[in-house]
Symmetry: C2
Subunit: 255 residues, 2 copies
């Protein structure tokens, strides 16, 4: 977005968007055993932020989140999940907001819409990062995938939002299936295990994983084996779509 | 709250509370094999609603929710959990809001703070309903425990909020321990199973439940048995507090 467009956004925001409500997206990217997160570099600064945005006067949170993410990633079918409202009254630091605006070459008067307290609704998603071309927004001059744990201190409370999303994603592995949009349609057990290990950030016992994941009854073992493997070709699996969808709704295994 | 206080609330709300943001609480009550939900009866109407309220200008969502619940239940240490933001632009039905105000004897001008679109943050809690004395609020003339499934159609989208909370609570059984504040300090396996069955709304296999719940390692079998039982006194258990807290944070069993 050029300087002129940025100024227009600031001038008209209070007419277009709801006051004191924003959203922030934690987009986790998985590919080939790596877990990354999508971040924006603030203009003329070395500080990074989560992609986020505001909610139009007559828009649902979900529509707003999908719009924001589409602008940042080009993806239009990301499955975004609300996970928490961040509402600490001290989270909107006006000194920090002013500094970012100044570096972007914008000045706003005291009492401007942008200087209100903002509560932010956190969304998270997990995508295959090899399918995404990141796009900076009006406040940023770079958008990139960062290794989890190497992001440093993000702006405002964004490090806390990222950490909370990771906690929720890790908990989610206990009760919802995962992997449908992250693995090829036919995959091996070690590939699926690697996905879980990458998200959890720790090694899992091969036998326990095998036994547990089969007990969920969301996998179909295929008759074919992987081609072009020298010897002992590994068993291939695919997800049982109907049981996968049912488990998404009702939970895995459990009591 | 008397009529005068209600009018004061409506007159001053825009100075005290954030605009277009509310919260609604789904308080589930468990006791002796029954699952209930706390509802308010709208003044001079036969429609019921979830207890809810607004967020003060410099208050966090959590502080606001605890304040609202304390006013309705007298409890000050309820563990409330955010579960969803309800943000459908059509959810604030002004015709319905006006009708409720009219029945409460209050008229507000068009464009009043109360007539805005409201997004609502849903919280849920699970308490022992035998410990709670329900209190009506300014808009209601009764506050009572209702059997889940017998509530009829609640106001606005409150039936949807209740249904969503029940879905989240049932999913939660798959990955977090439950029962600490709902069972006596020493309890039997059938008592714990009854809690799960009541929340899930279905019977569970006794052996599977026993095996599964012990595999979570959150229970301590006690040396003593229940007193005053004629023959075959049942084994008593208590929760292992440290492991229970750990499982709350990191999830149960799972992968």
């Amino acid at each position: 977005m050029a300087q002129k467009e940025l100024k227009e956004f600031i001038d008209n925001a209070s007419q277009i968007y709801l006051s004191h409500l924003s959203l922030d997206c934690v987009v986790f990217g998985f590919h080939d055993g790596q877990l990354k997160v999508l971040l924006l570099k603030m203009k003329n600064s070395d500080r990074w932020s989560l992609p986020g945005g505001f909610i139009k006067q007559a828009e649902s949170m979900e529509t707003a989140a999908i719009r924001v993410l589409n602008e940042r990633t080009g993806l239009d079918s990301i499955f975004l999940q609300q996970f928490h409202v961040f509402s600490d009254p001290g989270r909107s630091d006006n000194k920090e907001k002013n500094a970012h605006l100044r570096r972007a070459g914008i000045a706003v008067p005291a009492g401007h819409w942008f200087m209100q307290r903002f509560l932010s609704v956190g969304f998270y998603a997990l995508v295959d990062f090899s399918t995404v071309t990141p796009q900076p927004d009006a406040f940023s001059d770079d958008c990139a995938w960062w290794d989890i744990g190497e992001t440093g201190q993000l702006i405002l409370d964004h490090s806390r939002i990222l950490f909370k999303a990771l906690e929720v994603l890790r908990l989610q592995l206990h009760y919802q299936p995962i992997g449908y949009n992250l693995l090829p349609p036919k995959f091996t057990m070690p590939e699926l295990q690697k996905l879980y290990e990458t998200i959890l950030g720790r090694k899992l016992d091969r036998r326990n994983f095998h036994r547990k994941i089969l007990s969920y009854e969301i996998l179909r073992p295929l008759k074919e084996k992987r081609q072009g493997v020298a010897h002992k070709a590994p068993q291939l699996y695919s997800f049982d779509t109907i049981k996968y969808q049912k488990a998404l709704k009702e939970g895995l295994g459990g009591i």
